[in-house]
């Protein structure tokens, strides 16, 4: 393949991947974060104690997470059509990606919030903080390094998932690699796709790590 043609294909696929990952990541986090906060604080005797709801939400989250992504993509096609108006293309692919992101983010946020010392919740209650203030001023503020790492991991996983939405015409780097690199036997395309993906993941991970380090004031010296 001519280099300029390869570059054009790569660029288009990269834009599609970034488009899908950012939109699905953003909406998924918007919905997944409160669910994660809820899961971390709704056990018996906790801040938003609702053990029954906690169990049901946990069950739904687990069910979604254990469904293989490619099956999720085809299983929710009617839902995708309802939301996106179509079941093929990049915009349509964002729907299953978002659905898969929500429980993923929720569990990671839950873990990050659970890392926050319970003593801080008690201290905040003793100060007269409302539950909303405890969530915003204590839990999320204290879990910020963990949340940042969780969202980094989410983006990296989304980049991986997005490779599968070629199945519904979602496009993106993974799709490019399968169609040109594998099905048309063009190893140079496959190699280029892999290199771009590695660089992309590396960039996201480094940015996330750096940000998390900046937020983390727990192990400062000097």
């Amino acid at each position: 393949m001519a280099p300029d043609m390869l570059l054009a294909l790569l660029w288009k696929a990269l834009v599609q991947t970034i488009h899908m990952v950012t939109v699905a990541g953003f909406i998924g986090t918007l919905i997944g974060l409160p669910i994660g906060v809820f899961l971390a604080n709704s056990g018996k005797g906790e801040l938003f104690a609702a053990p029954m709801t906690n169990r049901i939400v946990g069950l739904v989250v687990n069910a979604t997470r254990s469904t293989p992504f490619i099956i999720l993509v085809v299983a929710i096609i009617p839902f995708t059509r309802m939301i996106a108006g179509t079941s093929i293309g990049t915009s349509a692919a964002i729907v299953p990606l978002t659905i898969a992101t929500i429980p993923f983010v929720a569990r990671l946020i839950e873990a990050a919030i659970r890392e926050v010392d319970r003593g801080l919740i008690e201290a905040a209650r003793a100060m007269g903080a409302s539950r909303w203030q405890i969530v915003t001023k204590v839990l999320i503020a204290e879990a910020r390094p963990g949340i940042t790492l969780a969202l980094t991991l989410t983006l990296v996983s989304l980049i991986g998932y997005s490779a599968m939405v070629g199945a519904v015409g979602g496009g993106g780097l993974g799709d490019l690699g399968i169609r040109y690199g594998y099905q048309r036997f063009m190893p140079e395309v496959m190699l280029a796709v892999v290199v771009v993906l590695v660089l992309l993941v590396q960039a996201v991970q480094s940015a996330g790590d750096g940000l998390a380090r900046r937020f983390d004031k727990r192990n400062r010296h000097g």
Partner: protein, 374 residues
């Protein structure tokens, strides 16, 4: 020669009484009335009784210590005061307001009048010293300027003027607790609750934190209620003490009275670790309950009171006309009052002991015969 201050021992209610004299004259800050607290067991079966009916009043303006072993119920008790725990029955009054009757809003405004400090400090790692102290004010809705006007003097008060922009991870344990204290004071509370605040600190740091609490109590007139398992803490700063065991207050009163004449076995056991109250084992081991020929009597003399300093030991010697051996002894301070304990021995001869007993009666010395031996 020791110059021992003497006085008639302070009069106290019968030792088992749990009604502190404070309730008779001094205004009350916190009143526990028939408070019980039961928790469901881990397994969900059965119940665990943390508090089995506590009646106790905490005097206003004083430092009161509640002491007990771990699991005695003291953590539960202090958490009832600011509504972190709700009693199963009974009521808790803070400055006349029944905490158990408050709704969420009422509870939040009460908590702004009650500061709390913790064993593990519970500072936000993501906030600087300044921002940690500012947190209760942010929560209460103060604006930036009002917050600054409150926080800056508090940072100076606790001696952290140069650490304002530091994060907790950069501070020592003692400095962290100072931040905790400043934070607890930021909403200008009338009551400060201290939950084992010095238990994670070394002795020297403990002393400096206790000094700070004492100064706050004195200068701001703030009532302090602290729980601890360390007798030293109570001895050093608390003017009043309550001993809690198995969910009940078993003894209470002025710290000096309770510590110098402990009536309950739990109090005695807790006190046994205190320097000067325990007779060395080397001595107790060779003592017999009955006097044999040529034996000496081993007696513990206890001195307290701040009045009339008299050279009692030299008078005892001349009174007995016999030599007096000083075995062990200590002069100490309990809640700011001098206290002495001395173990002496002299001939168990009746002619000597009769004169000794006379002398004790005349001077009002509190004594205890430990045993007889060579």
């Amino acid at each position: 020669m020791l110059a021992i201050p003497t006085a008639t021992p302070p009069v106290r209610d019968s030792a088992t009484s749990v009604v502190p004299e404070a309730s008779l004259s001094v205004p009350t800050m916190v009143a526990f009335q028939g408070v019980t607290k039961r928790f469901a067991d881990r397994g969900g079966q059965g119940e665990f009784t943390a508090l089995a009916g506590v009646d106790y009043t905490v005097p206003k303006g004083a430092i009161t210590g509640i002491i007990g072993r771990s699991g005695a119920g003291k953590s539960t008790l202090i958490r009832l005061v600011n509504g972190l725990e709700v009693p199963s029955s009974g009521s808790v009054l803070v400055d006349g307001v029944d905490v158990t009757g408050l709704d969420e809003n009422g509870l939040r405004s009460l908590r702004r009048q009650v500061g709390m400090i913790f064993q593990h400090f519970n500072l936000l790692s993501s906030r600087t010293v300044y921002d940690n102290i500012a947190l209760p004010l942010e929560i209460a809705g103060f604006d930036r300027r009002a917050i600054k006007a409150r926080v800056q003097p508090l940072i100076d008060l606790v001696g952290l003027s140069d650490k304002s922009g530091r994060y907790p991870a950069e501070l020592s344990g003692g400095q962290k607790q100072r931040v905790g204290i400043a934070r607890a004071l930021s909403t200008e509370p009338k009551l400060l609750l201290s939950d084992e605040a010095t238990s994670a600190l070394d002795p020297e740091t403990t002393q400096s934190i206790l000094d700070l609490l004492k100064a706050i109590n004195r200068d701001l007139g703030l009532t302090v209620l602290l729980i601890t398992h360390e007798m030293e803490v109570v001895k050093t700063i608390a003017s009043h003490v309550a001993v809690i065991d198995k969910g009940l207050i078993v003894e209470s009163g002025r710290t000096f009275d309770v510590f110098t004449r402990p009536a309950h076995e739990t109090t005695r056991a807790l006190l046994s670790g205190l320097a000067g109250t325990k007779v060395p084992e080397a001595i107790t081991r060779r003592l017999k309950p009955m006097a044999g020929a040529g034996d000496r009597v081993y007696t513990r003399l206890t001195f307290f009171g701040a009045t009339a300093e008299q050279p009692l030991i030299s008078r005892l010697m001349s009174e007995l006309g016999s030599d007096v051996n000083i075995i062990t002894g200590t002069i100490d301070e309990i809640a700011g009052e001098p206290y002495g304990s001395l173990v002496v021995s002299y001939a168990a001869d009746p002619s000597v002991t009769v004169r000794a007993d006379d002398f004790y009666r005349q001077t009002g010395l509190s004594t205890e015969v430990l045993g007889y031996g060579a």
